[in-house]
């Protein structure tokens, strides 16, 4: 039997919690694949910077120099804007909804189609669940409070904030803490309670705005070089497919548990004030987000196809939610 010695690079550091270590992480995924295949696939893991810089994995796998890369698709919007939809779209689907679109609503097939010209086969391999809006040094009571606010927020969400007058700063993660601490920026967005606490953001900004409008459930991606994937026999392919599906669920569960604990700790022991953005702010963000997405759709036919598939699924999922999850959250959950 042929054995495969592969390399996996990652967008995240070698010890990053959730992404590189812990249940459902890249290392856990490797461990599952190796055990299920009885080591017929062996994978050497490299965190960001160990073999190549964080953002270089896409090209390295595309060129077939490395077989696998772990990241989030929305880091590749510079290569194709459609990639945004395979991670998280502002005001988009939650974990359940995204899984539904991916597995049964044609999302995964579209993803494969979009990545095909890059010689990549993408897999859905993890999820943080809903992220948080972020850490603010001052409370946000109105849309006016956003004007001139200096915020570290990369990507699409930054563009939406910018339309509301936010001054978007692109700082590297390493300068995020000192900048927020000294007031160079007034606000910063990272992930969720557990990972944010690790970064120490609660020590320098006390207003924690919750449920992230910008990342309602953030999917992790595994990409495999197309030729490398084609070489795998069917049983090993099945093993990889099952391992990523397992990690997708397990990582999200891990996040829920740890975020719940961390949030309680932040509020109880660190004086953090958890709050929601005012309705008027959310409404304006939604409005601007629609404009930004419409513009992107108008520019690129591939993005249009993905957008339409996503939104069509979302409409049906939302309708069903009104009979299922919405009453559950509003009436049944809290007796």
């Amino acid at each position: 039997q042929t054995t495969f010695n592969w390399r996996m690079t990652s967008f995240y550091g070698p010890q990053a919690a959730f992404y590189s270590t812990g249940p459902g992480s890249a290392r856990d995924l490797i461990d599952r694949i190796q055990r299920m295949s009885n080591n017929r696939i062996r994978i050497q893991f490299f965190g960001a910077g160990e073999l190549i810089p964080a953002a270089e994995g896409f090209d390295a796998v595309s060129a077939g120099i490395v077989e696998m890369n772990y990241a989030n698709a929305y880091f590749w919007t510079g290569k194709t804007f459609a990639a945004q939809y395979f991670t998280a779209v502002p005001f988009g689907l939650n974990f359940q909804g995204l899984n539904g679109w991916m597995y049964d609503g044609g999302g995964l097939d579209l993803w494969r189609e979009v990545y095909d010209r890059f010689n990549l086969v993408p897999f859905l391999c993890g999820n943080t669940g809903v992220q948080m809006t972020g850490w603010f040094r001052r409370p946000i009571n109105s849309v006016e409070d956003l004007r001139g606010l200096k915020m570290r927020i990369p990507g699409l969400a930054g563009r939406v904030y910018q339309a509301l007058g936010v001054d978007v700063r692109l700082l590297p993660p390493g300068e995020l803490f000192p900048a927020l601490e000294r007031g160079v920026i007034d606000a910063a967005e990272f992930v969720g309670p557990y990972l944010d606490r690790q970064l120490g953001l609660h020590r320098v900004a006390k207003h924690y705005y919750t449920t992230g409008w910008h990342e309602t459930a953030t999917a992790s991606e595994l990409t495999i070089n197309k030729a490398a994937w084609a070489r795998l026999p069917n049983d090993l392919k099945a093993i990889v497919e099952n391992a990523v599906a397992a990690c997708n669920v397990i990582s999200e569960a891990w996040c829920q548990k740890n975020n719940a604990d961390a949030m309680e700790d932040l509020i109880r022991n660190h004086g953090v004030e958890a709050k929601e953005l005012p309705d008027a702010v959310v409404a304006r963000l939604r409005e601007e987000n629609t404009k930004v997405l419409d513009a992107a759709v108008a520019r690129d036919p591939v993005t249009r196809r993905v957008h339409e598939s996503y939104m069509a699924y979302k409409a049906r999922f939302d309708a069903w939610s009104r009979y299922s999850e919405v009453p559950y959250h509003n009436k049944i959950r809290e007796a």
Binding site: G13, G174, G200
Partner: protein
């Protein structure tokens, strides 16, 4: 022993040999890396080289290098630096080692503004090396104190080492910044104490500024000059530091404020003109490019080291260990020290630290303390010959009559002081762990 590990060892030996023969530093890295990497695993892995080079030349935090170097060159070319040191020498009076103390002090201040060693070393060298040489300082001491003080920025926050440690060890950047404050100040204190003691024991090595030179400037003139020449550069450093502390600029942006400030200060001193601007920019660009070229070529070496499974070599060494947490820590520190002779700190961090982390995590070692220990030890890698960043930067900025041998000889006492500081943090963990707890970071 697998053939790849033999190639890895041969690569290290070839690197040393080429370096000693006098092949330019950058090329020694590229040649030994390419030759033995190609023998060991062929061209495949080298296809990742462009991605690594791109990562280096677009690295946001490295932007501080050209900016601070420009600031330093501008101060030197406008002769502000020379005047500054003359006044510092006058202020120090008949204190032996006064200029060297000034270097340590400026090193601390600059260290608090940047985490980039190269920029600080170059600035200090341009500021103070000619002044110390002309006043009869031992060249080795002059070089040593500049290199050592220039590296203080890597331990005094903000610091690139601490940011990378936080990333690799999955800790809060803020906690590590706080943890490094006392070890950093301890080091600075040790450097200062060494200079003072040396001044007492060996006055010939660190003479006071001659009385006749001091007599040239009377007290009234001194006050006047103080305003004219000391205020601008000190104001510059305060402006950089102030824009960080005052929340005007992030650490790297503050470097740009320093560069712009240097232009303003020279203009206010009526020394600014287009030629000065162009010459400063040209010199700074070439020094930066030289540094970056070493860093780029180091990517070839690091990639080859990975491809030849150098980390496996390190891991195999580790298997020989008797065991016990403390001996593991000491071994790791020793390893970092030894790797410092031929690798640069980023690569050391990526090779040595992840290897040990699982072991320490399971045995309950305080990760903050561990990170501080690693950071102080990593700092020695800047100073240890033959591959020490600080040494290369000084070599690049020093006048040709200074020999590399003098630089090597001069840093050795400071390397010893560094090791002493590592020992202190090891023996008294509170040096690192107290402040983060006290301020709740």
């Amino acid at each position: 022993m697998p053939i790849q590990e033999i190639y890895a060892i041969a690569m290290l030996l070839a690197f040393f040999a080429l370096l000693l023969v006098g092949v330019p530093v950058a090329l020694t890295l590229a040649i030994s890396g390419f030759v033995f990497g190609w023998l060991g695993f062929g061209p495949m892995l080298f296809n990742l080289l462009p991605a690594r080079i791109y990562g280096v030349v677009t690295n946001y935090t490295l932007l501080a290098i050209p900016l601070f170097v420009f600031m330093g060159v501008m101060l030197e070319k406008s002769r502000l630096a020379e005047d500054l040191m003359a006044v510092v020498g006058r202020l120090a009076g008949n204190l032996r080692g006064g200029l060297a103390l000034g270097v340590v002090f400026v090193g601390v201040l600059m260290g608090a503004t940047t985490g980039i060693v190269g920029a600080t070393v170059v600035t200090l060298a341009l500021l103070a090396l000619p002044a110390m040489m002309s006043r009869g300082y031992d060249r080795g001491l002059a070089c040593g104190v500049i290199c050592a003080s220039g590296t203080l920025g890597q331990i005094i926050p903000p610091s690139l080492i601490l940011i990378l440690m936080a990333d690799i060890m999955n800790l809060s950047v803020g906690t590590l910044f706080a943890a490094a404050v006392f070890p950093g100040l301890l080091l600075a204190g040790m450097f200062a104490a060494y200079v003072i003691i040396l001044g007492m024991v060996r006055p010939d090595m660190a003479p006071p500024v001659p009385a006749e030179e001091r007599a040239l400037i009377d007290t009234r003139q001194l006050l006047l000059r103080l305003l004219r020449v000391v205020l601008p550069p000190v104001g510059l450093i305060v402006a950089v530091l102030g824009s960080i502390i005052g929340g005007v600029a992030a650490p790297t942006e503050a470097a740009a404020m320093g560069a712009l400030g240097a232009v303003l200060v020279t203009a206010l001193g009526r020394r600014f003109n287009a030629t000065l601007l162009w010459e400063s920019a040209a010199a700074a660009a070439r020094i930066t490019a030289m540094m970056m070229f070493v860093l780029i070529c180091a990517q070839v070496f690091a990639l080859a080291f990975r491809g030849l499974r150098g980390e496996q070599l390190v891991e195999d060494l580790f298997a020989f260990l008797p065991g016990g947490v403390n001996s593991d820590i000491l071994f790791m520190l020793l390893l970092i020290f030894v790797l410092g002779f031929f690798l640069e700190w980023i690569e050391i961090s990526y090779i040595a630290v992840p290897l040990f982390l699982p072991i320490f995590a399971s045995s309950g070692v305080d990760p903050v303390w561990l990170a501080a220990l690693i950071a102080v030890m990593l700092q020695t890698s800047f100073l240890t010959p033959p591959f020490g960043w600080a040494l290369f930067f000084l070599r690049g900025a020093a006048p040709p009559e200074i020999t590399t041998g003098e630089i090597y000889r001069g840093v050795l006492p400071f390397v010893a002081l560094q090791l002493l500081a590592v020992g202190a943090v090891f023996a008294f963990p509170a040096l690192a762990t107290w402040l983060p707890r006290a301020i709740g970071w």
